[in-house]
Chain length 239, copies 2
């Protein structure tokens, strides 16, 4: 029998933010591959008999190389297993889904993608704010605050990011926050623009640090942040 | 007893893309308010006894004014009802959630927001593509292709939208597609950039029209499109 591989967005942290379709895929999987951004409570929803494989950290220092994860997905699929690849948030947003999808298809296997709630949407919901506003925020943009080697991404379109009429969500936004803040203000963003850092959005451990884009780095430096952090920036956060 | 109002993202169309938390809110609601972008199959998940209120079209021509919807939410909450306000996709993305949240809070009522899968994520999943790419697409942006009065939004940051290193999702992207295509190319976007229109993403009626940003308007003009349309633009769609 032919195996199949399903990429499933595990959502932002709260296991209740998994979709019904994601749950269905998970409860029929033979093997579940996940990384450290996937909530443990979501992995727990898989069948007891399912094999669970931790393929390590996403973000700074992968403990398993992407090429090995991809090879494993293909090998398991070829063995005829029903494989679920769980990804934190949504697979299409900063999840390297394209590399996995291409390899699976090239191996002649079927691949399906189940979308999920990405962190920016969960953060907005937790804060009770809208990322768009008919008057003040008609463009929303998502970026990560570091390059693949963990450095500050100098080559992003900073003018687009400093647009006062957009809302910006910065994934993995903690480590390079001082550079981010300085750069946005240097590019013309009002230093008084509301900015919020949210650690572990949608979980019981959620922490919110609200300030201005100029003030957020100092306020954040006083906290010990260990979970995934998202930074939201824009006038719409002011209510 | 105090009523409560919960804004719930109904997801992009497939009722299976509702979250577990959204389903829970829906199955405990006394009253469900929804608009035309909410999938009928999601509304069907509410209790049989629940009152269902269609508050009309979102997008071009609201049949019920936003101020009336907001007033209704507040009035029902004050009556002590458990009210769910269903919004297509995710409440924080082009859903005017901020106006409803503010009014509910000002009335002294509790409001909770349950995020959902927004159309751009469902479209990416359906196409089996990633919206980000470590090399070619490190910024993702969402806009709507019309202003509140249905016109082409001349005053968006078009330079940001024409950035070859971003992926752009245009909500309600059908009606003004010729202007959009012309403007992006005029601002410097390569006419050969991959562009895809997806009608009713994630539903059995889903339709995909793939072309380049220069060619998409003509290819789309040959089709009769009646459902919600999303346009994705960017090199990452090329695989």
């Amino acid at each position: 029998t032919r195996g199949r591989v399903t990429l499933v967005g595990a959502g932002p942290g709260d296991p209740e933010l998994l979709t019904l379709k994601g749950l269905r895929a998970l409860t029929s999987a033979d093997v579940v591959l996940f990384d450290d951004l996937v909530p443990a409570a979501v992995i727990d929803l898989a069948r007891r008999e399912a094999t669970r494989v931790n393929v390590g950290k996403r973000g700074y220092a992968p403990s398993v190389a992407q090429s090995e994860i991809t090879a494993l997905l293909v090998a398991l699929g070829k063995e005829g297993r029903n494989v679920v690849r769980l990804k934190g948030g949504d697979p299409s947003i900063f999840g390297r889904a394209n590399e996995e999808i291409r390899a699976i298809r090239e191996a002649g296997l079927e691949v399906e993608v189940v979308p999920g709630v990405t962190a920016a949407l969960a953060a907005a919901a937790a804060l009770g704010v809208s990322l768009t506003n008919r008057d003040t925020a008609r463009r929303v943009q998502f970026v990560t605050a570091h390059t693949s080697d963990g450095k500050f991404p100098e080559d992003l379109d900073w003018r687009a990011l400093a647009d006062a009429r957009a809302t910006t969500a910065v994934y993995m936004g903690n480590r390079t926050l001082p550079e981010l803040s300085r750069r946005l203000v240097a590019e013309g963003l009002d230093p008084a623009t509301p900015a919020v850092l949210i650690e572990r959005a949608s979980t019981p451990q959620q922490r919110v640090i609200a300030a201005t884009i100029a003030g957020l780095p100092e306020k954040t430096a006083q906290e010990t942040l260990i979970g995934p952090c998202l930074v939201l920036i824009g006038a719409t956060l002011g209510g």
